[in-house]
């Protein structure tokens, strides 16, 4: 085979991400009609956007974005960088439910078997797309919140401690609007 020949096609692995780690693949979500500013400083902001509800949970995107009309901090000054930026690696998001339960992206609080065994809801999973300044992470809350306030917070002790709150009714109503792409009948 030539050095430049394409590699042989690989057979399918058959792996599917477990249902508790992703939104349903065969549903049109109900859109939650809110956008949240979770934190904002003079130079940086973090938003919660793309809230999509399903019968099994809530998907949303956390976005960190720098203020576009400010000059960038020096790229070779990590101390100054830390003061001016929020990085998703250094922060964990916590969701506080109306019944007192909390879930967090702090993986130290996740069950060890979350990839192979279905955890009890609520469970908050995420994966991020990094960048030097702007970043995004996709989140999936396995399990719907109970009625009442639903808070997106960075717990005290983080810099900054900040958050935003919505009425979980918006999520529950959106979940009711989700529809199946391929009805079983």
């Amino acid at each position: 085979m030539s050095f430049f020949a394409m590699p042989a096609w690989q057979p399918p692995s058959g792996y599917r991400i477990p249902a508790w780690l992703r939104p349903p693949e065969t549903m049109v979500p109900g859109i939650v009609p809110v956008e949240l500013v979770v934190a904002r400083t003079d130079t940086y902001a973090v938003l919660v956007t793309h809230l999509r509800a399903y019968p099994t949970g809530l998907a949303f995107t956390l976005t960190g974005q720098p203020r576009p009309d400010r000059s960038d901090p020096p790229r070779h000054d990590p101390v100054r960088d830390r003061r001016h930026r929020f990085t998703y690696r250094n922060l964990w998001l916590e969701l506080r439910l109306a019944d007192g339960r909390t879930v967090s992206t702090d993986s130290r609080r996740w069950p060890r078997t979350f990839e192979t065994e279905q955890p009890d809801p609520p469970f908050l999973y995420y994966h991020g797309v990094g960048g030097s300044e702007r970043w995004q992470s996709s989140h999936w809350l396995w399990g719907l919140p109970p009625p009442g306030p639903l808070a997106f917070v960075w717990p005290a002790g983080q810099n900054p401690a900040a958050g935003a709150e919505i009425d979980a009714r918006l999520v529950l109503e959106a979940a009711d609007r989700a529809t199946t792409v391929w009805p079983t009948n």
Partner: protein, 154 residues
């Protein structure tokens, strides 16, 4: 800016094996972005598709006044031209097996806003779905500036 959200997702095409959704419509005063989301029937065997196939999912957005934009190969504005292009202009920034991400430069006039697609290599025929452009315009009006002194380019 904090965008305004359009509170609907659209099912644009559906066959026995595939569906195409318009999802995550976020609106700014200068235009809107959304996910062009591909769904595969769970009974469909999983295999890696040729990336060339991903690029064959054709999308067109049509305004009520007859203007339209699509994710075809161009023509594109010259990179050395500082003037903003005439709207609408559709830019698909992500192309993959699960669809892509799209920015549409320019807001639609009132009336029906049509999303049309076809994907011959996946046997999706010409299909379309409509949205009331009023939902997009109302969302644009709800968009907020994060830093009030920040200048917004039209």
């Amino acid at each position: 800016m904090v965008p305004g959200v359009v509170p609907v997702a659209l099912l644009v095409a559906r066959t026995g094996t595939h569906a195409v959704l318009i999802d995550g419509l976020l609106v700014y005063p200068t235009g809107f972005d959304f996910d062009l989301a591909v769904r595969r029937h769970p009974a469909l065997p999983r295999h890696q598709t040729d990336p060339r196939v991903w690029h064959e999912l054709w999308l067109e957005v049509r305004f009520a006044d007859g203007r339209s934009a699509d994710n075809g190969p161009g023509p594109w504005p010259r990179p050395d031209d500082d003037r903003p292009p005439d709207p609408p202009l559709l830019y698909q920034s992500v192309i993959g097996p699960d669809g892509g991400h799209v920015w549409l430069w320019g807001l639609p006039p009132p009336g029906p806003l049509t999303f049309a697609c076809q994907w011959p290599s996946e046997q999706i025929p010409p299909s379309q779905a409509e949205l009331d452009a009023g939902l997009v315009l109302a969302a644009a009006a709800r968009a907020q500036t994060l830093w009030p002194a920040q200048a917004v380019s039209p």
